[in-house]
């Protein structure tokens, strides 16, 4: 089956429309004002804290995934025949 560009375009458009309408049509439960923190614009510290406390287990798992994919990628890219 050949790739059908107009159809793909239409589908993409339809999907955009659905998402956009959905996004605009929903009343999101957000804070009224963005937090103002003029002294320190960055939140690196907070993220770091979270990453090593609450999300430490996923973080470790992720490291293993990365390692595995790294090894896998190297193995596959190297090929079988050429040492």
């Amino acid at each position: 089956m050949k790739i059908n560009r107009p159809l793909a375009f239409l589908v993409a458009l339809l999907f955009t429309a659905v998402i956009v309408v959905g996004a605009f049509g929903t009343s999101w439960n957000t804070v009224s004002e963005l937090p103002e923190n003029p002294t320190d614009q960055s939140n690196i510290e907070g993220i770091g804290m979270l990453l090593f406390t609450h999300y430490v287990a996923p973080f470790e798992v992720l490291s293993i995934v990365l390692l595995a994919s790294l090894i896998g990628a190297i193995y596959m890219a190297k090929g079988e025949g050429n040492q």
Binding site: L13, I19, V20, I47, S69, A73, G79
Partner: protein, 100 residues
């Protein structure tokens, strides 16, 4: 203040562009690039929600997602290299041995 929905709309637009790319491109490398685009639109959403709900969880997830995208890209490229070695091309529409 810029409303949240604007970020969401932007992300949707980015996602759709990536989607269109996935649906139309034959080349595997390009498809992976388009998938990256879609992932990033998701990241955008995560960060946007994170900011607008005054929590940091979303941003942590965005970081996870970026790391996973790296892994995915690495594996994907490796697969394409293997395919290229076998078929001398990476046009995915011609690789339809899994049909019917």
């Amino acid at each position: 203040m810029i409303p949240l929905t604007f970020y969401l709309g932007l992300a949707a637009l980015l996602f759709s562009i990536g989607l269109y790319g996935v649906m139309t491109n034959k080349n595997g490398i390009r498809m992976i690039m388009c998938i990256e685009l879609m992932l990033n639109s998701a990241n955008l959403n995560l960060v946007a929600f994170s900011s607008y709900t005054d929590t940091l969880n979303g941003q942590v997830f965005a970081i996870f997602s970026i790391a996973l995208a790296a892994a995915e890209a690495a594996v994907g490229f490796a697969i394409f290299m293997a395919i290229y070695r076998m078929h001398d091309k990476i046009n995915l529409d011609e690789l339809n041995i899994l049909r019917w």
